[in-house]
Amino acid sequence: MPEWVESIIRVAIAIGFVLTTVLVLIWLERKVIGHIQQRLGPMRTGFHGFLQSPADAVKLLVKEDIIPAAADRWAFQLAPALVFVPIFLTVVSIPFTRTLVVRNLDLGLFYVFAISSISIVGIVMAGWASGNKYALLGSVRAGAQMVSYEIPLVFSILGVAMVAGSLNLETIVDAQRGLWYIVLQPVGMFIFLVASLAELNRTPFDIPVAESEVVGGPYVEYSGIRWGVFFLSEYANTFIISALAAVVFLAGWRGPLLPGWLWFLIKTYAIILIIFWFRATLPRLRIDQLMTFAWKLLLPLAFVNLLITGLYLVYDWPRWILFVASVAVLAVASRLVYVVGRA
């Protein structure tokens, strides 16, 4: 089999897997949040509502495709693809196990951030092209929020790259033999999780799509499968971000007894469940609080983390010093949030 045929098959399998995962995630989120709120969640379609997501997908597919008269036609039609394609391209470099990966890229870690950053343009394009003031406001919010949080997001992961000495995701997993990076880079993981919630536009950072303020934000004029593509991309992105966190901070496929792919899925779903839990628990922030949090807390915190990690590498400190210093930084930071929040 020629190499390019194999590549295409690998990419197709990866995309198929993520699409299936998305259906599972949508069902899982509705169940998890339902149970947290003392409800049952979907129950009617299939066993405990398991077939609810496929049913919804079919409904979206057969719905009428509406393009508003005030919309900018080609931008309106192109925007869903511009969100969808980059997110699914990032699957290429995520290693499920050492062999279960589409392509092990040398710059895998950087690749995920660089490619997925394009999808911001898609969201802004969607809001602008809709010809609706709520969509426009939502997309302005999305643009400001996602550009702001991309900076701490990239810096949070830089510490890992420094400790592992590589941007290759396989090398990063191998470097975590015996000690996961959640221990050496707790500050990095904290910033990564918070900033990626903002990148995903999820609660408590769902300001761009806040129903009570801007109706549905950039997606308000979309219906049928075009809206479905946005929804799909959001959940696919949730999976990819969680998988990346599992690989980078929780040593990916490494673990005793169980096979590697199972460890990978367990760790990924653990992070996904934390993200769902946040949505059921936390209220939405105000936009000025959101910006203050990114620029005045997360970004300086990321710099401090880089400084500590650099000192650790240059002076060859023992590992426990890095751990203790990181925990101390986190403690000081959370105290600062409390004090500043009160003032």
Partner: protein
Amino acid sequence: MNVPLVLFWVFGAASLTAGLLVVTSKNIAHAAFYLLFALVGVAVLFLLMAADFLALVQFLIYGGAIVVLLLFALMLTRIREGPVIVGNSQKPLAIVAGLALLALLLSVVFVTPWPKPATEAIQRIEVPVIGESLFTDWLFPFEIVSLVLLVALIGAIVIARSGDD
């Protein structure tokens, strides 16, 4: 068939077309969208030349950040109500400046001593090598650039805040 060469022509042509559309399109938001395609096309060209790090930087900085900031600025102004195309007395001057810049850039292409003839295979440069040369050979320019960016940042804040008090 030489696949990289075909890709080079396809993406080069796409990038140039998008670039032309940026300056000719009547709607300024469309121009910003075309700019994205032009920049992504250039990123693919970087990839073809085995400069994968540069290509990813192009995606992240230009695709993800610059275009979004441009769109952001456009949306804060009332683009739909403003004049579609702005033409004024500075047009001849702008043509002269544009042509001068073109001549300068073209002369750089011919004056620069390229490390290898075009027929040889391109060597991929690893990221550590880029980092090392940035912090040894190019340390001074690197720091100057950081300083300029910092000054621009502070300047923007000062200008934005001057109305308040």
